[in-house]
Amino acid sequence: MKKKILVIDDDPKIVEYLVALFEDNGYQTRSAGTAQEALDIAKKMLPDLITLDLEMPGEWGPRFYRKMSQDPELKNTPVIVISGLSGNEYAVGKAVASITKPFDKDELLKIVKDNIR
């Protein structure tokens, strides 16, 4: 069974790129453009890994993470922060990795492979 990745980003181009990258490498994906949408999808999908943008309309990534970590079924899901903001490694203290855009796809795939449940 394919491992599931939830891609959270408000930029459709980034979403399209990440979804294609992950699906080309054998993962099943879903995507969300807002924190609320992401939380709804995550509860149904129970992803094996989440990629999380920080700056999004409405609630930002850290608030999503806080809500997610209050859900017993989601709280141990590994999260990779992918953001253009500098200092993004501090935004979600318990993220398994933080990557700054633009990023190297091989590096991202390695992090995914090393951390996916």
Partner: protein, 299 residues
């Protein structure tokens, strides 16, 4: 929530983390931002010769020089200024804390953002101007809350929605509580009421038993519930917690555990007279170590 933010800055990299928070908050809350910079400290009273804070050289002040420094500050923050709807740059000469407090009185900002220090620069003109830091002196007298950022980790990630309020049960803690509650209510956020039982102070030359520690924790929790919960007026999203240990370490750990995006503390301990109060040592340590911004409340 915040409509007028004052960002007091040396316009050097030491204030970059604070700048990020100040401008991001102004953007998020559509607030006006006053960028306030003390360009030089007079070499003697009313002198036109000042010590430039950047070059550390004596310069003769005139309108042209002041306008040039203002432009320098504008250039330094070009990108951030582009993102906010309303901003003004103020460049003044004088003893930093006095000028900042003067501006606070005149402009009445509802939040002041400052960096934790002028960094490792021991030659800082600000430091030479007066014993004790500018932050200490502003925090002591400011009628408005002071938000201090000293680490890149203590950044502002889009919103404030998870507030940790640390109390030592002092009068100024009561004022800090009111502010923390207001923030939590206005942001529809969560409020974590926290007290750290200071084990080191309790020792008094002997080791406390675990029963004694747990009894004191229960007492503190009861005290917090009795003191603060009645003031909540229907606000439900709160938690009460007491941990034992070194207060500043426990506050930082608790805030990290709760993924707080703001810590609110009273600016000094209950043990000091207000007129002599410096920024409390616990507050200082929390500012230095916290992974989110810290607001110090004076009154």
């Amino acid at each position: 929530m915040f409509k007028k933010i004052m960002f007091a800055t040396s316009a050097t990299p030491a204030c970059d983390h604070a700048a990020r928070v100040a401008f991001n908050m102004a953007k998020r809350y559509s607030a006006h931002i006053d960028v306030f910079h003390v360009l030089g400290v007079p070499t003697r009273g009313f002198s036109q010769v000042v010590l430039d804070v950047k070059t550390k050289e004596k310069v003769v002040l005139d309108d042209e020089y002041q306008a040039w420094v203002k432009e320098e500050v504008r250039t330094y923050y070009t990108n951030q200024l582009r993102d906010v709807s309303s901003a003004e740059i103020h460049v003044v000469i004088g003893v930093p804390h006095r000028e900042i407090l003067r501006h606070i009185r005149n402009a009445e900002p509802d939040l002041i953002v400052m960096g934790g220090s002028t960094g490792q620069d021991e030659e800082s003109v600000y430091k030479q101007s007066m014993t004790g830091s500018t932050l200490q002196r502003v925090a002591k007298a400011s009628p408005a809350p002071i938000l201090v950022v000293s680490r890149p980790a203590a950044s502002f990630w889009g919103e404030i929605s998870n507030v940790v309020f640390g109390t030592d049960f002092s009068k100024s803690s009561d004022a800090a509580f009111k502010f923390a509650l207001k923030v939590a209510k206005e942001t529809d956020g969560e409020l974590h009421l926290f007290h750290a039982l200071d084990i080191s102070a309790l020792h008094m030359g002997r080791m406390l038993t675990q029963d004694e520690i747990e009894s004191k924790i229960r007492d503190a929790r009861q005290l917090m519930r009795g003191r603060y919960v009645p003031q909540m007026e229907g606000f439900k999203k709160f938690a009460v917690e007491v941990w034992e240990g070194l207060p500043y370490i426990e506050i930082v750990k608790y805030a990290r555990e709760k993924q707080a995006d703001l810590i609110v503390l009273a600016h000094h301990s209950q043990k000091r007279d207000e007129k002599d109060a410096r920024l409390g040592s616990n507050v200082e340590q929390v500012i230095l170590r916290a992974s989110c911004p810290v607001i110090s409340i004076n009154r």
